[in-house]
Symmetry: C2
DNA sequence: TGTGTTCTTTTTGTCGACAAGAAAAATACA
DNA sequence: TGTATTTTTCTTGTCGACAAAAAGAACACA
């Protein structure tokens, strides 16, 4: 026989709390719902999620490991700033990882990888139709992350995910002022990339990845030059 | 006026505990003093370091973020295994990062970067003279990490450090059975690399980085084929 | 008014204790 | 003896409370 205690309301499984807090804060940071530099209060989060500070703290430690928040010892913890001064290093890494992951996907993908890649491709297309900026950014990142997974090199995938994350924040920043920036052209390029991967045309995949990446970088840099004030704004 | 409580013995500054545990465990894992797959007990560590489980736990979360340990929910946590089946993905990433970081160092280094690079170069040379295996592995990694720093791309540096860490474990494994493996030749190659960086010869640095990396990979792979049993041994 | 010092407040870091889960041990039963 | 079930044990995940740092407020004094 088993006694049931109706008094206590855990309401959630033991260990799911950390992941929930981590995922939610992560999304809020990447969607700029939490502005770079804004403070993070443990007690406040504990109240919000109705749990003690311990699991909150663990989620924060993990976010710090991802570089999404920064902790000053004994003092406040805050959302990491976007480093506008070193954007070129970010672009360098991004372009290389676009190339490498697309190339490896053409080389190493398995048939079962393609459906999920295609699905994100369609999601991205739908987001553009719907003019849903946040969805566009997120599905674009998911599309390329799926390609990277098909490449089956966890080291590259790890770095690439991190770069795509940072890219989400940067793109979100510019989309606030400019609309219709991701042209439909990107949808076609995505289709070309899928075709090259499926055909296992490694060199073509590499080339397309490079072109695609450089086009995105050029877009963002163009916006940069249009209103150079932005790097001071945040 | 201030009362002094002679009873409590903190014996260490507030917040230094986590870093100490993290650094120590990290070194023990990378030097294979903690074997891959061996269990990690929080309570045991708490006793060993004379602190509560909370800071121990934080250090473990960070190590898990680095991929050095793995945690099964509600169950044990253990030192990450070395993935011998996917060594080729590791080598792919390692070679590319050797190339990229050396190339960027030739491009972006500042005069003040060279002294520390040279120092690690000498340390490495001294470690070979002294036949100190652990020191050879560690200083070699430090040498290339310093070059990567001079390249000034934190994204590449981050991935490269992770790869060099993993490399420390793999090399340590082979050095247990084979001596005099890192030939003196590597010292000369390091010197060539330094020269190319200092001359800002980007293409040459790239080429040397690639050759150097592929030589190391070939060495390890040769050992692999000699005694193919090792991948089952651990 | 300006400056240096002491108190107060706020937030983090650490602790000991307890409860939930899962494996291991013990037990019941055929 | 072999298998299913209960009990025990052991480890982790979570909690509430307290202590240490650092910032800010209040105060003294020139």
């Amino acid at each position: 026989m088993r006694d049931i205690d109706p008094g206590s309301h855990p309401e959630r499984k033991r260990g799911s709390g950390v992941k929930m807090v981590y995922d939610l804060l992560r999304d809020e940071i990447l969607d700029l719902k939490l502005a770079p530099g804004s403070p993070i209060d443990e007690v406040q989060l504990a109240e919000r999620f109705k749990m003690s500070r311990t699991p909150i703290r663990e989620a924060l430690v993990r976010l710090a490991g991802d570089g999404l928040i920064e902790t000053l010892p004994n003092r406040s913890t805050m959302v990491s700033n976007i480093d506008f001064l070193n954007l070129s290093t970010f672009f360098d890494a991004l372009v290389l990882m676009y190339r490498v992951t697309t190339r490896l996907a053409a080389q190493n993908h398995r048939p079962e990888d393609l459906p999920s890649i295609r699905r994100f491709h369609e999601d991205y297309s739908a987001a553009i139709e719907a003019r849903d900026t946040l969805a566009m950014i997120a599905t674009n990142a998911a599309f390329h992350a799926a390609i990277a997974e098909a490449g089956r090199n966890p080291y590259f995938t790890g770095l690439f995910r991190r770069l795509l994350d940072e890219g989400r924040r940067i793109l979100r920043l510019y989309y606030q002022s400019y609309d219709e920036l991701f042209p439909r052209q990107f949808v076609d390029e995505h289709a070309e990339i899928i075709a090259a991967i499926e055909a296992r045309d490694v060199e073509e995949a590499d080339r397309l990845g490079k072109v695609h990446a450089e086009q995105i970088v050029a877009q963002v840099q163009k916006l940069f030059s249009r209103n150079g004030k932005l790097d001071i704004a945040l």
